[in-house]
Symmetry: D2
Subunit: 339 residues, 4 copies
């Protein structure tokens, strides 16, 4: 079928390519004319602006938006005057699901459908396909089924879940209609919240392996330093890259994130290219907010998020408070950094 | 080559089968004669006791122990009088790596080698192979290479890590000599510590999805109850089993543990067969102890362990203290359980 | 000076009494006429409704609202038509500071001032005084100084902070103008967030003391149960009530919350009167939301909140997921509850 | 009564002074003759060595050891040859309670009693008295009662716990016989574990107050940065020192640790004298180990300990892993530090 794509960054452009490979026709627009030209060279129809884009689409129109969350509002404002009842806007970016509810409400009086689609797959999606988590009214989602099917990975070689048989469900093909407006981004949000904690679990574990040789070092003996309880038990120099590799096969902790860790450690065994200031984008935060608002315990998800904040120095004042308290009650001076 | 196996439970018996399929010869012993007989029927040589087992092995002997951690000490005591210098004992169970160090020290004067081998793979290992994490002296570990190669999964269909080429390393075949005595079980211990946190990350996330519809319920309005901030944002009835299924394809959180979760939710969508009292065996605890002793921050790993303790009621007194404090300073009475 | 109080619950009524003891004149209103009558008997002027209340006040009027957060909006709507430019509304309840910002904005066009006042002290405030955290414009806050001074504890017997001398600052008297609208409730919110974690810290510690005798019990020996590592180290029967008492004197952990814990344990040493379902009101949640939105690591504050959620059964589904996963990969069945 | 003190550091010397003020006679020893001389000038009897010290004591002898935990073993070895059946050694330092059990066992055949005494009070103990947590046999502890009574703060001005009346219990005087050998240090260990979490709770809370103005700053708008959700809600410049001061009066979070925080913030409002590398001595770690071994959930206590590790850079490798993973799956580059 025919689909317009607005926003031709790494994600949007790759999705257009994957759609065209599956036989769909794409009209494309980006603020950057070079991004448009590159896809026109691959067979897409280029658009000069929103009006042009909408004019080039047959009704009912399907317009997929793939832009930063902060810009979605403005794009919808620019786009909607050129759309008509029965058309559909799909937000495939990392928007807050609450904004989806607002967008759908705003577009409803004009008869324009709104579909939110959480998209996982990163830079690998062109080849592997994208895992799609979709929210919106049944009618609109149904009509777009061929698009979702083309973008998603399909059942692939993955072993089928016991108890499933017959035709592959959509979930088995890698896309799922999760519920009404916002449900897609809600599920994607939780997905990313889990992702943060999975990443932190591996990171903490590999860090313990990295510390497995602390008994080989000399240790200060004073009242300010907790003694290393059993130095004879921490005499190992573990090759963490090799450990990441071996866990990829047959182990309970095998995962795609572990595969990536193995790749990273192979390329740079000491990870010297990384300072350890870990960014976070919105979904991890929103997941924790949802946990708190719904009264759901999620200490790992939240602590994983906070570890990222701390990695960027945001715990500094708290730590200064602790040192100041210790100085007050015990006369403890800070120990200088190891040199 | 020839190997003896002591302990023919689910793990030990399957490992014997996998070894024999690869052409190795196995002498087997278990307290339960039926377990011995079952493997004799498959081509193993049965032994009546430790003496008989050792007599049936050519020197240098290789004896693999696959018994509960609490019993390893006793088995080594019973076994070692029948062994000679140059023989090797392999502990493939879930022992504490500190015990390995002690065992190796105890056997060294007799010239008996000790090898520790952390083994991951669970009930799936017979077909998939076992991920092996090995500790011990080079000589002993080298000599057993054919055994490890047979037990491990091999490179399989898994995509090769970028930057690796030429012959497959042992880690790529699914086994790794991690370091001297205890290093194997140390790495396995951390593996399980990570496993607990990975599991908890998924569990917390799915629990948030389960709570996504709390805005549909009525809520008490009183000073004892935090108001649900935005009920209109929590109106979703998410099918968590379908979400587990869709995340298996193309998503960043894909993993073997997620595959298993999808299976579980397919078989019992409300998980009514599970009360939620979550056991823990030793490795998760030992990982956290190692984190503390080595001064390595591991809040997710530790919190995941504590969530299991809480699931078994071990936080009850702490919670009673909290309610008692609230009563003291604010006259707050506990709210009765929802009925 | 003259002040009206709306809402004569435990907090509001006690505050009126404390104000009148200090010589202030109070006009009082509550939906419950008995609550009004009780204070009229103590010397307050009763009001029949909002109009009557405002008519009985000299301009500029001061109206203090002490009602549940959920009702503040409606009270302001009912009240403000009877107020004039130059009058002031004080919200002394547990409102979200964001609502203060909205209320101030809504009242500004009419020239009505809005002051938010976080109030700590609970049922003890009448005698001990209330710790007041105040937000609002300088002018309005300044004018109310005599009221704040009367409600707060004053400097009392508490040892003066080193470096402070001369006249007592307002903070040393127990009240503080924290900043513009919302600043008072913001500081009170964080106060309560800290309170949750302080409480949980004691509760976790006392729970460890309660578990100090686990080595005296018999323990299951099976693969499902982590062995108690060193039973000989856990042979203590600690009297936790006596420990709470001794820590009140000379120890670093002495605090008012500990005093209350000692009282609770004295009255009911096993805390059998408490089931351990711990409520949370809004401020703890809002503190954690603020931590997340501002990028401030606060894992203890958040985990303390989540422990309360878990105490009310909100982790159950997560725990079922964990048991289900364990069953899938290892064939582990749940162990029944200890009987 | 008569008591010897070995170890005349800040704690030991002050305790001797407090004992002599109460009329007890002290024989003192330290490796540093100047420390001995200083107390001799105050009325103590100096000793040249262990033999001399024991010779100067009447039987049954009482010898209090106040030295770093790492040295206790050696001191007991040097001391015990000069002691006789019926004498008592008291370890008043920060020893691991497990060592107490070993020490008592070692001394029992000679008829020498061993008493462990956890001592809280820091540099303030000389004037305020010390909170004492005592372990050992009844007989030995009873005989030392006058010493414990003199060191402890006594009932003081502190309000009596409801339900307590008649003579003051020992706990109300600030000392407690907690149980057999090790029980004193066990209770002191948990005390310090709680202390860490109390400190962290305040530190996290004050850090949120410090971040209350982030909405006043400009913010990057890119896909790497979680947007500040509601900048209009974070416009406060809170004076955290004044907040610490006001909370000291009438508030639920009042405590001695808060008093110290107020002092610290008064002396150095930005805490520029502290880098925020927070040390930990043994007890915090041992508390968490005990929580894990006994199966007691203690996520706050453990996370507080881990925050200290992180403050010293021990999370760096974990954070590098996270950045490396993000680069692998999303091509995310680290954002440079704010300058």
């Amino acid at each position: 079928m025919q689909l317009a794509m607005i926003g031709l960054g790494r994600m949007g452009a790759n999705m257009v390519l994957r759609l065209m490979r599956a036989g769909h026709r794409c009209v494309v627009y980006d603020r950057d004319p070079a991004a448009v030209a590159a896809l026109v060279a691959e067979g897409a129809v280029g658009a000069r602006d929103m009006a042009d884009l909408c004019a080039k689409l047959e009704a009912p129109r399907n317009v997929w938006i793939m832009v930063p969350a902060a810009v979605v509002d403005r794009v919808i404002d620019d786009l909607s005057p050129h759309l008509a009842a029965g058309d559909t806007i799909i937000d495939g970016g990392n928007s807050n699901y609450r904004d989806d509810i607002a967008h759908a409400k705003r577009l409803a009086p004009k008869g324009i459908h709104f579909v939110d689609c959480g998209t996982s797959g990163g830079v690998w999606g062109l080849e592997r396909g994208y895992c799609l988590m979709i929210g919106g009214e049944d009618e609109a989602v149904e009509r777009l089924d061929p698009v979702f099917a083309a973008l998603s990975p399909g059942p692939g070689e993955i072993e089928r879940t016991a108890g499933r048989n017959g035709d592959f469900s959509r979930s088995e093909q890698g896309y799922l209609h999760c519920g009404p407006n916002g449900a897609g981004h809600f599920v994607k949000m939780v997905h990313n919240g889990i992702e943060y904690a999975l990443m932190a679990a591996y990171a903490e574990g590999f860090n313990i392996l990295k510390h497995a040789g602390v008994g080989l070092n000399e240790h200060a003996v004073d009242a300010e330093t907790a003694p290393l309880a059993n130095p004879e038990h921490y005499q190992y120099r573990i090759d963490v890259g090799e450990v990441a590799e071996v866990w990829r096969r047959g182990s309970v902790v095998a995962s795609w994130l572990l595969d990536l860790t193995a790749t990273a450690l192979r390329a740079d065994p000491q990870l010297e290219g990384f300072g350890g200031r870990v960014s976070d984008s919105g979904e991890g935060r929103w997941t924790c907010l949802a946990a708190i608002e719904t009264g759901t315990p999620a200490p790992l998800l939240t602590t994983a998020l906070f570890e990222r904040f701390s990695s960027r120095g945001e715990a500094d004042f708290a730590n200064q408070i602790l040192s100041a308290m210790r100085y007050q009650f015990g006369g403890h001076h800070e120990k200088p950094e190891k040199s």
